[in-house]
Symmetry: C2
């Protein structure tokens, strides 16, 4: 069967940053690229994780040929343990390190038996359904990152994944120019390109520039050195290891995910640490301060991470001492600035020397800046273009960039999550919209926390709650116990006795005139709610949630 | 009486950004520099404003000679309406524009009659108690900003206020080098210097560089132009007015504080708008799109501001049309990045062209970068140095900068809010610590929301609340109505019937074995709380606030 159309349905990562997930349909075949999570923002009260809404796929599970993974970052693989069971465990394809990171997750979720994760090498090609899938190497802030080409009978679709061009990467090779140029020559029907860093002019510097900064810091550090970075940034860990070895320092690891990832990366051959160099964090004190380096988690100020515990004097075995040197080798993810700054302040306050991105070259981005985005567009010369991975303004700016490089305006679609885009050999069109959005993981459950629960949490967080509880006589409808007024998060009850006593009287007034049997308690409750609400706002200018509870005996 | 010591007691702005307030004591005299507010961060649930804790001054009110104001930004004057009554309305000294901004506040709080605000000119000197107070002009992102010199019999204390050096300011003059150099020559005992921008190398560009960007944008804008900036940034408003006049555009104002400030600044002669140029926002549609400019509030994504309403299609008279050009002439204050990005995305989505700092030179900072900080230190050559205005890391970096310029290490003190610093002619010492911190304004009340209420709001925001309400027989101690289980913000109750029914049964179990009269209800409540907490955590991995309410009849 040949088909005239390809369908693209982004379920995450378009119009937002995080939980990347792209559905590509050709004929009977469905390919999914990535299945990421997003971390909740401050308006998603109490939510632990956010995953894509996959209801669009509910009646199409049998057509899913594969979930193709570009790399092992949380916003690309973190959704797998939730999405896989919903989709009846379609096979996953990933490079070796990525597979290692996925297995750690599947193990935690006890899914190792059901899930199938196939390992591919960059450069491999796999036939699935009517399509040939090709994986090509790109540079990113994690090794083993790939872009994906889906060769459909209608033409080639290129998904860049997250990428940058690094001519002198710390491990691995530069991005696979040969394949990109070949594909560009063969013809690209549609390119989907990472837009994360479209606002930055020029080129993203090579990972290698960090070596110089590390060298300078190591040469001058009088005591211990502790470096926090992303646990998945294996190449950065390798850089630290190399400079540590150069300066005759032993290496200790702190933080569960750092320890797990380093171990896995060593086993898979992605990280090389000379024998005898690794020591246990518990043994740090057996060495002189100038003999050790600690590589740890906590570059984002995560509350339970190693560096945050160290900063809060809450770590099992490490306390800051004057002479310590700390490096935060990462940029705060938007929204984390405050907690990261809090960590830095606290470390400085305890006498450490602290190096961080604002004042020192200790981190580079993993995403392509404008000139690299142009390079990718120039290599692929796509017929159609669809920007991916970014908020709306980033997608739009990337679209404008593509247009400035010669892609016709009606060959570009700026789509967001849930949009359904159809591509033929001579058109790209936004044709429809499907269910999409945020599914919340909160505690053990997925999806049961929705807008109503969140709205209640928001109200509760602003002004708290006030309950008016009373027991009434079934016969007379009159109160025989209470009203008791109980509040939390509204006022400090001990200091507000007069206010709460007045509130009690206002509740009682709601019963005046209610003669005999009051069958309609919802009416009475509404009256109590209204009366209290007005009274409390007048007195405090606050609007706590008001909950009247009436019990009949 | 001569005294050997000067006391410095920062009550706000040291170790944090915002609510600046510095107490300077010499002999019987107390001078307060600034009285600002801070906007609540995301952990101060439901709080409207944060002001400094002034309890240190409670028994010293009679010694307060003046509150000296450096400039009219909220973090320097916003606390006045709350602090003035607490301190029995000591006289305030401020420059003319600053006084104008303060009066607007005092009027809102109905304090115009009690408050005394004396107007000073930059260059003025006033004798108060045993000291001579001098005001010197500095550049900042608001006109009429000054630094303050307190000439005590022991020596001169210089408070820089917020400042930068702008050789070509848009209105007003460059900072008062003559006075700074003179004071430096006469000898400065102690300098307190703004540390806000210590992390930025080089110089902060002149306000004038923005003209070029505006010019380019105006020259190419096909339709309406809307520019959002801080309502207090009168010089920026003047720049927009000038370029608007050059391009024959009429000017409309949107946003209450923009309208008020522009009017006040025009009356005081700080803003010049040619007659006939101002139009009402309601009349915008009577003009061609290319004939108008709107200057509006909302550069920080504030929910009720003009630009946010426009972006949300919620503004009384402005809807975005394709062809509109929007300029956000401001940097997001840390913490506001997400809401500002949301505004930008939304404007782009509706077809506007949007210029903002990440992609265009449409804003410069109001604070001195490293080279300017050095210039100030070089001009004043202080004997002692104390960094002000910044989080701990910024204060520390500023201290290091001063040390690198020759100030001896033991002549520098890095103090934070509440520290008491004593200065003699030959020493500066941190001697003690007093009460300081955050006083919360929430609704009508100041200070009644404390840690307990905030902690409850936090718990409520995370996992909500679950109440178990029952009526028991006074005689038997056994339930005769309920337990009723009511929850908010925990689970969606309609979908969780089985869970809540199980919770009900768990509550009832707490009564088994309680024979006859149970006088100790607190024991029963604890038992219910404990049982429910365990059960709910096991089932959901959430920890809602649990509130058992028992009524006796």
């Amino acid at each position: 069967m040949t088909t005239e159309k390809i369908r693209l349905v982004p379920l995450g990562g378009l119009g937002e940053v995080g939980k990347n997930m792209m559905v590509v349909e050709y004929g009977d075949d469905i390919f999914i690229v990535d299945a990421g999570v997003m971390f909740p923002d401050e308006e998603m009260f109490g939510v632990d994780l956010v995953i894509p809404d996959t209801s669009y796929l509910a009646d199409k599970k049998h057509r899913i040929r594969a979930i193709l993974i570009t790399h092992g970052h949380e916003d690309h693989v973190g959704g797998l343990p939730y999405v896989l069971p919903m989709l009846d465990f379609p096979p996953v394809y990933a490079t070796r390190l990525t597979q290692g990171l996925i297995q750690v997750k599947l193990k935690e979720h006890k899914q190792l038996e059901q899930a199938i994760v196939n390992v591919v090498q960059p450069g491999d090609a796999v036939t699935l359904g009517e399509c040939l899938i090709e994986f090509f190497h790109v540079n990113h802030s994690i090794p083993d990152a790939v872009g994906i080409i889906i060769h459909t009978p209608l033409g080639a679709i290129v998904h860049t994944g997250d990428y940058k061009f690094d001519y002198t990467p710390v491990n691995g090779k530069p991005a696979d120019f040969a394949t990109l140029a070949r594909i560009g020559n063969e013809g690209v029907l549609l390119m989907m390109g990472d837009s994360t860093r479209i606002e930055s002019p020029g080129y993203t510097p090579s990972e290698r520039v960090i070596n110089d900064s590390f060298d300078k810091i190591f040469a001058n550090a009088p005591g211990r050195i502790m470096i926090a970075t992303f646990a998945s940034l294996i190449s950065r860990v390798q850089q630290v290891v190399d400079v540590a070895v150069r300066y005759d320092r032993f290496i200790a690891l702190a933080g569960r995910s750092m320890i797990n990832n380093v171990q896995m990366a060593m086993e898979l051959g992605y990280l090389h640490i000379p024998k005898g160099t690794l020591i246990r964090v518990e043994d740090l004190n057996k060495f002189q301060p100038e003999q050790v380096v600690v590589i740890c988690t906590g570059s984002q100020g995560e509350p339970t991470s190693a560096l945050t515990r160290i900063a809060n004097q809450d770590h099992r075995s490490i306390r800051i001492e004057p002479g310590d040197t700390i490096i935060l080798s990462a940029t705060p993810v938007p929204g984390n600035e405050k907690v990261v700054n809090r960590t830095i302040n606290s470390l400085f306050r305890q006498g450490a020397e602290v190096y961080y991105q604002a004042i020192s070259n200790v981190h580079v981005s993993g995403h392509a800046a404008q000139e690299e985005l142009k390079l990718m567009l120039g290599l692929l010369r796509p017929h159609f273009f669809m920007p991916i991975h970014g908020e709306y303004r980033q997608l739009l700016l990337h679209a404008k960039l593509a247009h400035s490089m010669g892609v016709a305006e009606d060959h570009i679609v700026v789509a967001e999550d849930g949009d359904i885009v159809e591509v033929t050999t001579d058109s790209i069109t936004l044709v429809d919209h499907t269910t999409s959005g945020n599914v919340f993981v909160d505690g053990l459950t997925v999806g049961d926390v929705g807008q109503i629960v969140l709205r209640d949490r928001k109200v509760l967080s602003q002004d708290g709650i006030l309950m008016a509880v009373l027991t009434v006589d079934k016969e007379t409808g009159q109160p025989i116990a209470g009203p008791d007024i109980v509040s939390r998060g509204f006022v400090y009850m001990r200091d507000a006795e007069e206010l709460l006593e007045s509130a009690r009287l206002h509740v009682l007034e709601s019963f005046i005139g209610l003669n005999g049997h009051a069958s309609d308690w919802s009416f009475v409750k509404e009256k109590i709610k209204h009366t209290l609400s007005e009274f409390l706002y007048e007195r405090t200018h606050r609007r706590p949630m008001i909950l009247p509870i009436v019990m009949e005996v």
